[in-house]
Amino acid sequence: MAFCHVDHELAPVRRVAIFGGTHGNELSGVLLVKHWLENSAEIQRVGMVVKPFLTNPRAVQKCARYIDCDLNRVFDTEHLSEQETEDMLYEVKRAQKINSIFGPKGSDDAFDLIFDLHNTTSNMGSTLILEDLNDDFTVQMFHYIKLALSPASCPVLLIDHSNLKYATTRSVAKHSVGVEVGPQSHGVVRADILDNMRRIIKHGLDFVELFNSGKEFPPCSIEVYKIQEKVDYPRNEAGEIVAFVHHHLQDQDWQALKPGDPVFLDLDGNVIVYDGDYTVYPTFVNEAAYYEKKQAFIKTVKVTLTAKCIRSSVLNQE
């Protein structure tokens, strides 16, 4: 029997939160969190506290992505330390509140783990979003979830990137998991999408319970899609979109896009092709919320990540 080196022992994960409604019109997470606030039996596990939480209640009320600004982009030091004023943006105020309950971000007092539930209009299936490629605990969890869901696929998007990483709501916790399930229109709840999201949370919580119980997870590796570049729509001088996602690319999230493949199509029938040098894997293809962010899709490349053997330090403490 190989045992984890003592260096690989990690603190148990006791305080867990599940966020819904970070974007108020992504309804799977909104409905699941509301449901669990009334009846949390489904998400409770031995040896941990799991707290469901609605992060942006005013946006949920309006069924809008946000009120003043995107809540999932303001968890940086600048916004979290902004002096409270009368005209402070609603989402910045919420971010500070969330940071005070579940953080402070980067401190020992922060929650151990946060799942943040999102939907996309893109055909991304059940996607897990990883922020830190060195987070062995989370990589091990993703490995566990992928195995539990197979043969259904569960792609992992790695957003660890010097310019493209954004300050997410879940980043207040020590370990953070973005759950992104699609395709689903904003403001709509589909039973199949809700069910897929629910399965991810079930397996994620099962993993934490096993980990806390002292189970050792041997070294593992997973394939991830590493974010590389944002691609905007072709626009005219006035900034208006002049070509759309080509039907050969639509719904083809995670599929290889090779040099010369069609990417955009304009209303006169002209095709714009991918002119890169190597194959990329597009995702967030034609996401509604990203038109304003000037993003038609993001290019990713496939990378294999490995995680060390991990084990909870709980047994040694007892």
Binding site: C63, R190, A191, V245, Q250, A288, Y291
Partner: protein, 333 residues
């Protein structure tokens, strides 16, 4: 007897009470003044982009006997990529609203409705435009749906029949929206005749190439029909299947209005398929099914439409009927 919308001449070859529609030929004036709008709802993007495109380059809307004029119905909603700014524009064309006094604090869509009514109406007058195409998208799986007020509108039923036969890249069901004697509140009701196109599924705020292609195909097919009609082509009588609105079904809600159950996975995406007594309609988050308890099958449409949560509509219940439509022809000079 049949009621006819604006027949100029009715040739009745049989004097019996049992009306055989095949014995009629109904004459209509040609459709010369035609408008096309695409952004009645500012986040339904097929129409938004097509209308903008045609404003720059309208050649696609030209036919031998007429040229259709594109216009933007709700530019402020379009700019913000929202359905509406103050209220639903496509519910703002009742005579009562169009003739209300103009106080300074009017809602934007009411102001727009009055402007559009001046440009292409006024509703019910002799000066109205002949025909309006109104382009919409839905998050429901409705294909390339043709929305007509009622089958008594024989000219538009011929148009729908022509589109069904000539645009075959998507299903093109006919949706009859007139419920009882209710006056139409839709934008196309200000013209003599109107047809709304409802293409889905497409999320709001998103342009899908496939939905855009279908929308474009429908519009071109409609314009082709009008051109043939204007040239004096006789269109013979026919029978056709169409779905007529019966009632609207809301989500099960708690006493404080919260949705308690969602569209059942067996019903999702099944627009225009029969829902039989005993079939599941909704599912609670505890996994309980709520079944349809009616006596006869209905045909749900607008299943899980994003914009209808606030209107308290989970789906529209339709009946499937067969109609016989008499022959028509344009009255040419």
């Amino acid at each position: 007897m049949v009621t006819l919308r604006r027949p100029l001449m009715l040739i009745c070859l049989a004097g019996t009470e049992q009306v055989d529609q095949t014995l009629f030929l109904i004459m209509f004036k040609p459709l010369k003044r035609v408008v096309v709008t695409g952004d009645t709802h500012g986040n339904e993007m097929s129409g938004v982009y097509l209308a903008k495109h045609w404003l720059k380059n309208p050649s696609e809307l030209q036919r031998e006997t007429f040229s259709a004029t594109p216009f933007l119905g709700n530019p402020r909603a379009t700019e913000k990529i929202v359905r509406y700014v103050d209220q639903d524009l496509n519910r703002s064309f009742k005579t009562e609203i169009l003739t209300s006094s103009s106080e300074g604090d009017e809602l934007y869509e009411i102001k727009r409705a009055k402007e559009i009514n001046q440009l292409y109406g006024p509703k019910g007058s002799t000066q109205t435009y002949d025909f309006m195409i109104d382009m919409h998208n839905t998050t429901s799986n409705m294909g390339a749906c043709l929305i007509v007020d009622s089958t008594e509108n024989h000219l538009i039923m011929h148009m729908a029949n022509y589109v069904q036969k000539n645009y075959t890249l998507a299903k093109t069901p006919i949706y009859l929206y007139k419920l009882g004697d209710e006056e139409s509140y839709a934008i196309d009701s200000i013209c003599k005749y109107g047809l709304a196109l409802e293409v889905g599924p497409q999320p709001q705020g998103v342009v899908r190439a496939d939905a855009l292609k279908h929308m474009r195909g429908l519009v071109n097919s409609v314009l082709d029909f009008i051109d043939l009609f204007n040239k004096g082509t006789a269109f013979p009588a026919f029978e056709i299947e169409a779905y007529k609105l019966l009632a609207r079904e809301d989500y099960p809600r708690s006493s404080d209005g919260e949705i308690m159950a969602i569209i059942h996975p067996h019903l999702q995406d099944k627009d225009f398929d029969p829902l039989n007594p005993g079939d599941p309609m909704f599912q609670t988050l505890d996994g309980k099914d709520i079944i349809y308890e009616g006596d006869t099958p209905v045909y749900p449409t607008f299943i899980n439409e994003g914009a209808y949560y606030e209107k308290k509509i989970a789906f529209a219940k339709m009946e499937k009927l067969t109609f016989s439509i008499p022959a028509i022809q344009a009255q040419t000079e």
